[in-house]
Symmetry: C2
Subunit: 248 residues, 2 copies
């Protein structure tokens, strides 16, 4: 997690577009024990200190009924975060991760989400546990946690839509970012492909896959994919894409 | 849930401030089977149809490593929602709820959050299940679901901060919005107070509470609170606040 604004070894930024696709309204302020980004917990904890969510008076009526929910989802604006990093090095050791594979506060839209326990309500202030943000963080939204909420609205057509069985969509691809990897940096690529294939296998009930892998020369056939084997076989190709399909 | 822009019986709006406290960047588009708000599911389901999250090319590198997470948290902008309702009537039956006690798309900052299953990755497109939004919904953020994520960053001071035992903060208040209730509409108030007291009792290990309730005349003493009794006793006072404290 990048805690201050400097970039660390191997981190990568992109030119950030103007942030004007939509606008936010700060609806309150969050008060926590943490006044420095270096002290903030990396994640909130259910037995953490009590924090106060102060809702601005304009929205008071919108709290009615909230006490029926023991757990709330809170959204807040991580106002001290830079927004342009696409690769981050949480341990500052040169090893990087994509921003969307982290829960770092540094992201294109720095919106924090926490599931908190509602301890008490004092007028328009909620006393909660489970937050991880700085004192003074702007509040964006409060909703009942999905795990404790049942919709009150009448059912809709979409409620009953279900998906196709997994084995009919057994196709995925390795992430483009992995093309850049070389030598010992191939490990994350093997790891990624292994993770994908094992999940697809678990979901489809098939552990046999075949596919093709593009290269500068002819596509490499992969009659039966073994992640380790692929990584070895193609350690010089660094394909951008591996199409996988289950035999089922 | 308010599905179109009309207001329903008993719903209440406030004059909405300019939405310029912070700006958002749309980082992609979400493609789902639902093209009408009337058809959208009220909540996503794990066995729902597969949906495609198309990330704009600028952010491609930020996906690296995401395949290691089977569950992702997705944030999106509910672009068709009005933002000024504080009380909504999901069943359109005259009974209202505060917006923050609903997961309705209509809220001051219409940000949707879903936990989805990652089924596959095709270049910069994620194939997922569990979404509930309209086709074409703007994408705001993708993060590993908190339930499957372990921070990579080194521990911080705040990680070890824990809270005081519950019995030392056994105080809460009834929501101000409840003041307006009369007659049969007192039921939600009794329900709210019951919910609060039972949660406080569970958390503090005490089931005995006392406190005072302000009124136009002298404050009413509440030697031992019985939610039902309070509701009866004070059905003409409609207090804005009930201070509660555990005997412990």
């Amino acid at each position: 997690m990048v805690r201050c604004d400097e970039m660390r070894t191997s981190e990568r930024a992109v030119p950030c577009p103007e942030a004007n696709d939509a606008g936010l309204i700060f609806i309150g302020r969050i008060h926590t024990p943490w006044t420095s980004r270096m002290d903030c917990p990396r994640q909130g904890r259910a037995d953490g200190p009590s924090c106060r969510i102060e809702l601005f008076a304009l929205w008071a009526e919108a709290l009615e009924g909230i006490a029926e929910y023991g757990q709330l989802e809170v959204l807040y604006w991580l106002h001290q975060s830079r927004r342009d990093l696409v690769q981050q090095s949480p341990r500052d050791d040169g090893a990087t991760r994509g921003t969307f594979a982290l829960r770092s506060p540094v992201r294109p839209n720095p919106i924090g989400t926490s599931i908190v326990e509602l301890m008490g309500i004092e007028g328009t202030t909620l006393v909660v546990r489970g937050l991880d943000c700085l004192d003074g963080t702007p509040l964006l939204d409060i909703k009942p946690a999905r795990s404790v909420f049942t919709p009150l609205a009448p059912p809709t057509k979409g409620d009953s839509d279900v998906g196709e069985p997994w084995k009919r969509s057994g196709s995925c691809a390795v992430l483009p970012g992995l093309r850049r990897q070389r030598g010992h940096q191939a490990q994350p690529w093997r790891h990624t492909l292994t993770a994908l294939i094992s999940r697809m296998s678990a979901n489809s009930g098939s552990s046999t896959w075949f596919g093709t892998m593009p290269s500068r020369r002819a596509p490499t056939k992969l009659p039966a994919i073994n992640p380790a084997a692929i990584t070895m076989t193609n350690s010089r190709l660094w394909p951008s894409t591996v199409k996988l399909r289950s035999r089922l």
